[in-house]
Amino acid sequence: MDEIDRAIINTLQDGFPICAYPFAVVATQLGITEDDLLQRLKTMQEKKIMTRFGPLFHAERLGGAISLVAMRIAEKDFDTVAEQVNAHSEVAHNYQREHEFNMWFVLATATEQQLQDALQSIERKTGYPVYNMPKLEEYYLKLRFIV
Protein backbone atom coordinates (compact mmCIF):
# COMPACT_ATOMS: atom_id res chain seq x y z
CA MET A 1 0.00 0.00 0.00
CA ASP A 2 1.42 3.35 -1.03
CA GLU A 3 0.28 6.94 -0.48
CA ILE A 4 -2.11 6.79 -3.43
CA ASP A 5 -3.79 3.68 -2.03
CA ARG A 6 -4.23 5.43 1.31
CA ALA A 7 -5.69 8.48 -0.40
CA ILE A 8 -8.11 6.22 -2.29
CA ILE A 9 -9.27 4.48 0.90
CA ASN A 10 -9.72 7.75 2.76
CA THR A 11 -11.47 9.53 -0.11
CA LEU A 12 -13.85 6.69 -0.90
CA GLN A 13 -15.05 6.53 2.68
CA ASP A 14 -16.50 10.01 2.30
CA GLY A 15 -18.92 8.91 -0.34
CA PHE A 16 -19.09 8.09 -4.00
CA PRO A 17 -20.66 10.16 -6.76
CA ILE A 18 -23.90 9.06 -8.36
CA CYS A 19 -23.30 9.79 -12.05
CA ALA A 20 -22.62 7.87 -15.27
CA TYR A 21 -18.83 7.54 -14.77
CA PRO A 22 -18.24 7.94 -11.02
CA PHE A 23 -14.76 6.37 -10.94
CA ALA A 24 -13.56 8.90 -13.53
CA VAL A 25 -14.77 11.74 -11.26
CA VAL A 26 -12.97 10.30 -8.22
CA ALA A 27 -9.80 9.61 -10.25
CA THR A 28 -9.65 13.24 -11.40
CA GLN A 29 -10.06 14.34 -7.79
CA LEU A 30 -7.11 12.12 -6.81
CA GLY A 31 -4.98 13.12 -9.81
CA ILE A 32 -4.79 9.59 -11.24
CA THR A 33 -6.41 7.89 -14.22
CA GLU A 34 -9.72 6.03 -14.04
CA ASP A 35 -7.93 2.87 -15.13
CA ASP A 36 -5.32 3.19 -12.39
CA LEU A 37 -8.06 3.72 -9.78
CA LEU A 38 -10.01 0.65 -10.89
CA GLN A 39 -6.86 -1.49 -11.00
CA ARG A 40 -5.86 -0.42 -7.50
CA LEU A 41 -9.35 -1.11 -6.15
CA LYS A 42 -9.31 -4.57 -7.71
CA THR A 43 -5.95 -5.28 -6.07
CA MET A 44 -7.28 -4.06 -2.71
CA GLN A 45 -10.26 -6.37 -3.12
CA GLU A 46 -8.00 -9.34 -3.92
CA LYS A 47 -5.72 -8.59 -0.99
CA LYS A 48 -8.79 -8.18 1.25
CA ILE A 49 -7.74 -4.66 2.20
CA MET A 50 -11.32 -3.66 1.58
CA THR A 51 -14.30 -5.62 2.84
CA ARG A 52 -16.70 -4.25 0.26
CA PHE A 53 -17.41 -1.38 -2.06
CA GLY A 54 -20.94 -0.12 -2.55
CA PRO A 55 -23.98 1.25 -0.73
CA LEU A 56 -24.00 0.94 3.04
CA PHE A 57 -27.61 0.48 4.11
CA HIS A 58 -29.27 1.60 7.30
CA ALA A 59 -30.49 -1.85 8.37
CA GLU A 60 -33.37 -0.67 10.56
CA ARG A 61 -34.68 1.74 7.93
CA LEU A 62 -34.96 -1.14 5.50
CA GLY A 63 -37.80 -2.31 7.71
CA GLY A 64 -36.15 -5.49 8.95
CA ALA A 65 -35.42 -6.47 12.51
CA ILE A 66 -31.89 -6.76 13.85
CA SER A 67 -30.52 -7.48 17.28
CA LEU A 68 -27.44 -8.42 19.25
CA VAL A 69 -27.94 -11.55 21.33
CA ALA A 70 -25.77 -12.90 24.15
CA MET A 71 -25.58 -16.36 25.69
CA ARG A 72 -23.76 -17.91 28.65
CA ILE A 73 -22.65 -21.38 27.63
CA ALA A 74 -20.82 -23.96 29.73
CA GLU A 75 -17.40 -24.72 28.24
CA LYS A 76 -18.29 -28.38 27.60
CA ASP A 77 -21.35 -27.43 25.55
CA PHE A 78 -19.85 -24.48 23.70
CA ASP A 79 -19.02 -26.06 20.34
CA THR A 80 -22.33 -27.95 20.16
CA VAL A 81 -24.32 -24.81 20.95
CA ALA A 82 -22.26 -22.77 18.45
CA GLU A 83 -23.23 -25.29 15.79
CA GLN A 84 -26.90 -25.18 16.77
CA VAL A 85 -26.95 -21.38 16.78
CA ASN A 86 -25.04 -21.02 13.50
CA ALA A 87 -27.43 -23.46 11.82
CA HIS A 88 -30.04 -20.69 11.97
CA SER A 89 -29.84 -18.69 8.75
CA GLU A 90 -31.00 -15.60 10.70
CA VAL A 91 -27.62 -15.52 12.48
CA ALA A 92 -25.45 -13.07 10.50
CA HIS A 93 -22.32 -13.24 12.59
CA ASN A 94 -21.31 -14.88 15.79
CA TYR A 95 -18.30 -14.23 18.02
CA GLN A 96 -16.84 -16.04 20.97
CA ARG A 97 -15.82 -13.54 23.64
CA GLU A 98 -13.72 -13.90 26.76
CA HIS A 99 -16.40 -13.48 29.41
CA GLU A 100 -19.07 -15.36 31.36
CA PHE A 101 -21.36 -14.21 28.54
CA ASN A 102 -19.21 -16.00 25.99
CA MET A 103 -21.33 -16.11 22.83
CA TRP A 104 -22.47 -12.96 20.98
CA PHE A 105 -24.31 -13.02 17.71
CA VAL A 106 -26.32 -10.73 15.48
CA LEU A 107 -29.77 -11.84 14.37
CA ALA A 108 -31.25 -10.25 11.26
CA THR A 109 -34.75 -11.00 9.98
CA ALA A 110 -37.34 -9.39 7.74
CA THR A 111 -39.83 -8.86 10.57
CA GLU A 112 -39.86 -8.51 14.37
CA GLN A 113 -42.01 -11.66 14.62
CA GLN A 114 -39.37 -13.69 12.76
CA LEU A 115 -36.75 -12.39 15.17
CA GLN A 116 -38.80 -13.52 18.17
CA ASP A 117 -39.37 -16.91 16.51
CA ALA A 118 -35.62 -17.32 15.92
CA LEU A 119 -34.88 -16.47 19.57
CA GLN A 120 -37.39 -19.08 20.72
CA SER A 121 -36.04 -21.67 18.35
CA ILE A 122 -32.48 -21.10 19.62
CA GLU A 123 -33.59 -21.45 23.25
CA ARG A 124 -35.49 -24.63 22.45
CA LYS A 125 -32.68 -26.26 20.49
CA THR A 126 -29.82 -25.32 22.80
CA GLY A 127 -31.58 -25.50 26.16
CA TYR A 128 -29.89 -22.24 27.13
CA PRO A 129 -31.56 -18.85 27.70
CA VAL A 130 -30.87 -16.02 25.25
CA TYR A 131 -30.31 -12.41 26.25
CA ASN A 132 -31.78 -10.23 23.55
CA MET A 133 -30.00 -6.86 23.46
CA PRO A 134 -31.44 -4.79 20.61
CA LYS A 135 -30.06 -1.33 19.97
CA LEU A 136 -32.26 1.09 21.96
CA GLU A 137 -30.39 4.19 20.88
CA GLU A 138 -27.58 4.82 18.39
CA TYR A 139 -25.17 7.48 19.63
CA TYR A 140 -22.44 6.98 17.10
CA LEU A 141 -21.56 4.84 14.11
CA LYS A 142 -18.20 5.42 12.50
CA LEU A 143 -18.40 5.60 8.75
CA ARG A 144 -14.77 6.54 8.19
CA PHE A 145 -11.61 4.80 9.18
CA ILE A 146 -8.58 6.92 8.26
CA VAL A 147 -5.52 4.94 7.11
Partner: protein, 169 residues
Protein backbone atom coordinates in the same frame (compact mmCIF):
# COMPACT_ATOMS: atom_id res chain seq x y z
CA UNK B 1 -37.18 0.69 16.25
CA UNK B 2 -38.38 -0.84 13.03
CA UNK B 3 -41.45 0.65 11.49
CA UNK B 4 -43.89 -0.52 8.91
CA UNK B 5 -43.90 3.03 7.55
CA UNK B 6 -40.23 2.94 6.53
CA UNK B 7 -40.76 -0.39 4.78
CA UNK B 8 -43.71 1.08 2.89
CA UNK B 9 -41.37 3.76 1.52
CA UNK B 10 -39.37 1.12 -0.32
CA UNK B 11 -41.19 -0.07 -3.40
CA UNK B 12 -40.44 -3.27 -5.29
CA UNK B 13 -37.87 -1.67 -7.57
CA UNK B 14 -36.00 -0.12 -4.62
CA UNK B 15 -36.09 -3.51 -2.96
CA UNK B 16 -34.66 -5.19 -6.07
CA UNK B 17 -31.99 -2.48 -6.24
CA UNK B 18 -30.98 -3.17 -2.64
CA UNK B 19 -30.76 -6.92 -3.31
CA UNK B 20 -28.68 -6.31 -6.46
CA UNK B 21 -26.24 -3.90 -4.81
CA UNK B 22 -25.83 -5.16 -1.25
CA UNK B 23 -22.95 -7.47 -2.14
CA UNK B 24 -21.21 -4.46 -3.68
CA UNK B 25 -20.86 -2.46 -6.89
CA UNK B 26 -18.78 -3.86 -9.74
CA UNK B 27 -15.39 -2.21 -10.28
CA UNK B 28 -16.17 -1.06 -13.80
CA UNK B 29 -16.31 2.47 -15.22
CA UNK B 30 -20.14 2.52 -15.21
CA UNK B 31 -21.31 0.54 -12.14
CA UNK B 32 -24.84 1.98 -12.14
CA UNK B 33 -25.40 0.81 -15.69
CA UNK B 34 -24.59 -2.71 -14.52
CA UNK B 35 -27.38 -2.45 -11.93
CA UNK B 36 -29.72 -1.00 -14.54
CA UNK B 37 -29.16 -3.97 -16.82
CA UNK B 38 -29.73 -6.39 -13.96
CA UNK B 39 -33.06 -4.75 -13.11
CA UNK B 40 -34.03 -3.99 -16.69
CA UNK B 41 -34.54 -0.27 -15.98
CA UNK B 42 -32.59 2.74 -17.18
CA UNK B 43 -29.31 3.84 -15.60
CA UNK B 44 -30.82 7.25 -14.85
CA UNK B 45 -33.63 5.60 -12.88
CA UNK B 46 -31.06 3.60 -10.89
CA UNK B 47 -29.20 6.82 -10.08
CA UNK B 48 -32.38 8.70 -9.14
CA UNK B 49 -33.48 5.90 -6.84
CA UNK B 50 -30.07 5.58 -5.15
CA UNK B 51 -29.97 9.35 -4.68
CA UNK B 52 -33.45 9.33 -3.14
CA UNK B 53 -32.62 6.44 -0.79
CA UNK B 54 -29.46 8.27 0.26
CA UNK B 55 -31.42 11.44 1.00
CA UNK B 56 -33.93 9.45 3.05
CA UNK B 57 -31.12 7.84 5.06
CA UNK B 58 -31.92 4.32 3.84
CA UNK B 59 -28.43 4.36 2.31
CA UNK B 60 -26.02 5.77 4.87
CA UNK B 61 -23.47 6.39 2.13
CA UNK B 62 -21.95 4.72 -0.91
CA UNK B 63 -18.28 3.92 -0.63
CA UNK B 64 -15.46 1.70 0.48
CA UNK B 65 -15.43 -0.34 3.67
CA UNK B 66 -11.84 -1.08 4.69
CA UNK B 67 -10.94 -4.35 6.37
CA UNK B 68 -9.80 -3.49 9.89
CA UNK B 69 -7.99 -6.78 10.34
CA UNK B 70 -5.91 -6.56 7.17
CA UNK B 71 -4.99 -2.98 8.04
CA UNK B 72 -3.52 -4.18 11.33
CA UNK B 73 -6.41 -3.43 13.69
CA UNK B 74 -6.55 -7.01 14.91
CA UNK B 75 -7.80 -6.36 18.43
CA UNK B 76 -11.40 -5.46 18.99
CA UNK B 77 -12.91 -5.03 22.38
CA UNK B 78 -16.56 -4.58 23.23
CA UNK B 79 -16.46 -2.19 26.16
CA UNK B 80 -19.64 -2.17 28.23
CA UNK B 81 -20.58 0.43 30.83
CA UNK B 82 -23.16 0.79 33.56
CA UNK B 83 -24.06 4.47 33.60
CA UNK B 84 -27.17 6.24 34.94
CA UNK B 85 -30.09 6.00 32.48
CA UNK B 86 -30.85 9.69 32.90
CA UNK B 87 -27.29 10.64 31.85
CA UNK B 88 -26.77 8.16 29.02
CA UNK B 89 -27.96 10.52 26.27
CA UNK B 90 -25.13 12.91 27.24
CA UNK B 91 -22.47 10.24 27.76
CA UNK B 92 -23.15 8.15 24.64
CA UNK B 93 -22.44 10.93 22.11
CA UNK B 94 -19.32 11.87 24.14
CA UNK B 95 -17.83 8.42 23.54
CA UNK B 96 -18.59 8.81 19.86
CA UNK B 97 -16.12 11.69 19.65
CA UNK B 98 -13.21 9.36 20.51
CA UNK B 99 -11.31 8.38 17.35
CA UNK B 100 -10.98 4.69 18.26
CA UNK B 101 -14.68 4.09 19.02
CA UNK B 102 -16.40 2.63 15.96
CA UNK B 103 -19.91 2.36 17.34
CA UNK B 104 -21.66 3.35 20.48
CA UNK B 105 -25.17 2.15 21.37
CA UNK B 106 -27.57 1.92 24.27
CA UNK B 107 -28.81 -1.62 24.94
CA UNK B 108 -31.04 -3.15 27.66
CA UNK B 109 -29.74 -4.37 31.01
CA UNK B 110 -30.58 -7.81 32.46
CA UNK B 111 -30.25 -7.30 36.19
CA UNK B 112 -28.54 -8.66 38.16
CA UNK B 113 -26.51 -10.65 35.60
CA UNK B 114 -25.94 -7.91 33.08
CA UNK B 115 -25.89 -4.36 34.48
CA UNK B 116 -24.39 -2.62 31.43
CA UNK B 117 -26.46 -0.25 29.30
CA UNK B 118 -23.81 1.50 27.17
CA UNK B 119 -21.77 -0.36 24.54
CA UNK B 120 -18.72 1.07 22.74
CA UNK B 121 -16.57 -0.96 20.33
CA UNK B 122 -12.87 -0.12 20.38
CA UNK B 123 -10.22 -1.14 17.85
CA UNK B 124 -6.46 -1.31 18.25
CA UNK B 125 -3.32 -2.94 16.89
CA UNK B 126 -2.55 -4.66 20.19
CA UNK B 127 -4.18 -5.55 23.47
CA UNK B 128 -2.09 -2.82 25.12
CA UNK B 129 -3.54 -0.26 22.72
CA UNK B 130 -7.15 -1.28 23.37
CA UNK B 131 -6.50 -1.38 27.12
CA UNK B 132 -5.26 2.21 26.91
CA UNK B 133 -8.36 3.16 24.93
CA UNK B 134 -10.64 1.70 27.60
CA UNK B 135 -8.68 3.64 30.23
CA UNK B 136 -9.34 6.80 28.24
CA UNK B 137 -13.08 6.09 28.15
CA UNK B 138 -13.04 5.44 31.89
CA UNK B 139 -11.41 8.80 32.44
CA UNK B 140 -13.89 10.55 30.17
CA UNK B 141 -16.92 9.04 31.93
CA UNK B 142 -15.39 9.62 35.38
CA UNK B 143 -17.76 9.29 38.32
CA UNK B 144 -20.68 8.38 36.07
CA UNK B 145 -19.34 4.80 35.77
CA UNK B 146 -20.85 2.35 38.25
CA UNK B 147 -19.29 -0.73 36.65
CA UNK B 148 -17.64 -1.66 33.38
CA UNK B 149 -16.08 -4.56 31.54
CA UNK B 150 -14.35 -5.28 28.22
CA UNK B 151 -15.17 -8.37 26.19
CA UNK B 152 -12.45 -9.33 23.75
CA UNK B 153 -13.33 -11.61 20.88
CA UNK B 154 -11.39 -14.85 20.83
CA UNK B 155 -12.97 -16.57 17.83
CA UNK B 156 -15.21 -15.77 14.90
CA UNK B 157 -17.83 -18.52 14.93
CA UNK B 158 -19.78 -17.29 11.90
CA UNK B 159 -19.54 -14.37 9.53
CA UNK B 160 -21.93 -14.13 6.65
CA UNK B 161 -22.82 -10.46 6.87
CA UNK B 162 -26.26 -8.89 6.83
CA UNK B 163 -28.27 -9.71 3.79
CA UNK B 164 -31.75 -8.64 2.89
CA UNK B 165 -33.52 -11.54 1.25
CA UNK B 166 -36.31 -11.70 -1.27
CA UNK B 167 -38.52 -13.20 1.39
CA UNK B 168 -40.28 -10.30 3.09
CA UNK B 169 -42.00 -12.77 5.43
Amino acid sequence: MTSAASMADIDNIDHALIIASQAGLPLTPDPYKYLAEKLDISASEVMQRLQAMQERGIIRRIGLVPNHYTLGYTHNGMSVWDVPDERIHILGPKLGTLPFVSHCYRRPRYLPDWPYNLFAMVHGRSRAETDAQVAEILQLLGDEVRAYDVLYSTRILKKTGLRLTNNKG
